[in-house]
Assembly symmetry: C2
Homo-oligomer: 355 residues x 2
């Protein structure tokens, strides 16, 4: 494989010295970029874009050509595994993802199998291989998956939800059925991420978008337990380098200590806590990634720079931090504001990394 | 006024001894009750139901006739103040509340006035008076309002939102405009709640449904500061009794200490933290209200009782706790499960209140 020209992101995740704080943006390949919209139009629909490795590669590269980002992230959807399990993923315009066959019973859960990533999900590992070749060592490539709990919410509800009625009814009334589903998902995610690593992903991130809708005991039991199982079974070294693992639970700020205990290398933070406070709580054990409110990017440059400065100051000197938003970038953000953000992070972080 | 036959709720909010833990349910007058749906049908639409004191009284009383609840809560909408400010509140089927004229500029904010609760909102204080008469001292009546920040989100967005793009753009780019709006709202809420108290509300609660989407500094600056201003200007005694004030920020578990410092009497908790941990953090200063996941009510009776027992045990012995859900009851809950919940709270809490 090509030698890595910029390894700032990987080094920061492992707490190794860097010259400045690395930065990437969740959903950096997305609808706020006109070139993304053009490629998506060419693809015809979102799932074709995900399932065509050359097109997935094209949109993965677009933000790197515009901004001085320190990492690329595989373009894909978090619901590829349930789709490969045969639930029939589809997107209805303006309504988000849906499944034709949601899981509602013990028999439904019993019936699903564990996808072979090099068969049913080969379009994903193919995309990883194509992107790595195209990157040619510019920056590292991040692979990812949804967490078992987050995948289960969509699989049981069949669509997005505010109340999580079906999956929580299952949790409170048929916990053994839900645990069986989460077990299958943990095995599937492990195979899936290891296949991405084998294909060339240099770090992996697990998105637990909906862990924060659980109470603390249920979070540990139905979400974190399964992420921990995945972490302990991942390939942690490849191509002679460590492959760092990032866990991100949206609205998980109350449970950082428990997340840090899973053995992951880094925790993704949303913007509801100060990153400096998070560092005090877990900073010796793991790196931190975050945590600017995505809505700051609606503001003009002085405000963007001020917010970047505040977050860098809150974290303080030394390595172990990756700058990011606390959630995906919004669709209506002006791409020029991302330029301002990325440049501000690099420029303003240098003093924190002097030897 | 009539003598109060059951003052368990008011006593618990003030930390005074009680025989058992009082319980009420957020959104207890709501669509899970067939009799509510019948009254709403009779009213024609939701706003007419809110604006007709006799009908608001009818639905306020319905859950009390079914369940052994320890408090009634005024039936109303949180968006009555912006409606009275002339924004044109309406409800489109299945899409939640919307405003015909959202606020988007400094001039828009400049133009709005502070409603006189005994004029533009007289239907609310009339409802309080009718309900108090109908209650005839059975249980205390809770008045309520949305928090300034939560009202502002709807007023600036013009509808419900997941990203809060417009209101956060205003926060980051035109903070002075947003502060002017929040100032007007704090004054309006103060007048509104004091009018409810004057009309007979025996406790008041401020619902900060969207405070949890803010970062910690912004929460203090744009939400909590204004709730504190309201708390310090409320009538705290009426009819010879203290009028307790409850603050509830959904997803506010990380900021309990700051909320307790506002001078409120109680904090409403969602289910993302253990009530026992919350008590350790702030229990000497304020009472706590919560905090069962509303989705527990989908489960069968043994599970409901087990969850009630766990929460009561987590809080531990002594007064200062009001049992509630951590958010409003879901529409599809079987009302019989509410009976199970209410009875379980009363029965299982008695040992915690022995002298």
């Amino acid at each position: 494989m090509n030698e890595l020209k910029n390894d700032r992101f990987l080094r920061a995740l492992l707490g190794q010295p860097v010259d400045m704080t690395p930065v990437w943006i969740m959903r950096q390949a997305g609808r706020y970029l006109p070139e993304y919209k053009a490629t998506r139009k060419k693809a015809g629909d979102f799932l074709t874009l995900c399932k065509t490795p050359e097109l997935a590669c094209e949109v993965t590269m677009q933000p790197l050509d515009r901004f001085d980002l320190d990492a690329a992230i595989l373009f894909s959807d978090i619901l590829t595994i349930p789709d490969a399990m045969g639930l029939g993923l589809y997107f209805s315009e303006g309504e988000g993802p849906k499944f034709e066959r949601p899981l509602r019973s013990a028999a439904d859960v019993e019936a699903i199998g564990i996808p072979d990533p090099e068969q049913e999900l080969k379009y994903v590992t193919d995309a990883v291989r194509v992107i790595r070749k195209e990157l040619s060592g510019r920056v590292p490539l991040i692979g990812f998956s949804g967490s078992p709990w987050t995948l289960a919410t969509y699989m049981v509800e069949g669509c997005g939800t505010k109340e999580f009625a079906y999956v929580k009814a299952m949790m409170f009334d048929q916990p053994a059925v839900l645990h069986q589903l989460l077990d299958k998902l943990a095995d599937s995610v492990t195979l899936y991420l290891n296949a991405q690593i084998q294909a060339g992903a240099q770090a992996v991130m697990i998105f637990d978008t909906w862990g924060g809708v659980l109470g603390p005991r249920n979070y540990l039991d139905f979400s974190l337990q399964y992420m921990e199982k995945i972490v302990s079974n991942l390939t942690r070294e490849n191509e002679g380098r460590q492959v760092p693992v990032i866990l991100f639970t949206k609205n998980g700020g109350q449970w950082l200590e428990a997340i840090a205990d899973t053995g992951c290398d880094a925790i993704g933070l949303d913007w509801t806590l100060e990153i400096g406070d998070a560092r005090k709580r877990v900073g010796e054990k793991v790196a931190l990634q975050g945590n600017m409110d995505p809505a700051v990017l609606y503001a003009a440059e002085p405000r963007i720079r001020a917010e970047v400065a505040t977050i860098l100051e809150s974290y303080g000197p030394g390595s172990g931090m990756v700058f990011n938003l606390g959630h995906g970038i919004h669709q209506k953000i002006n791409p020029d504001h991302v330029t301002m953000l990325v440049n501000a992070v690099h420029e303003l972080s240098k003093p924190y990394h002097k030897r």
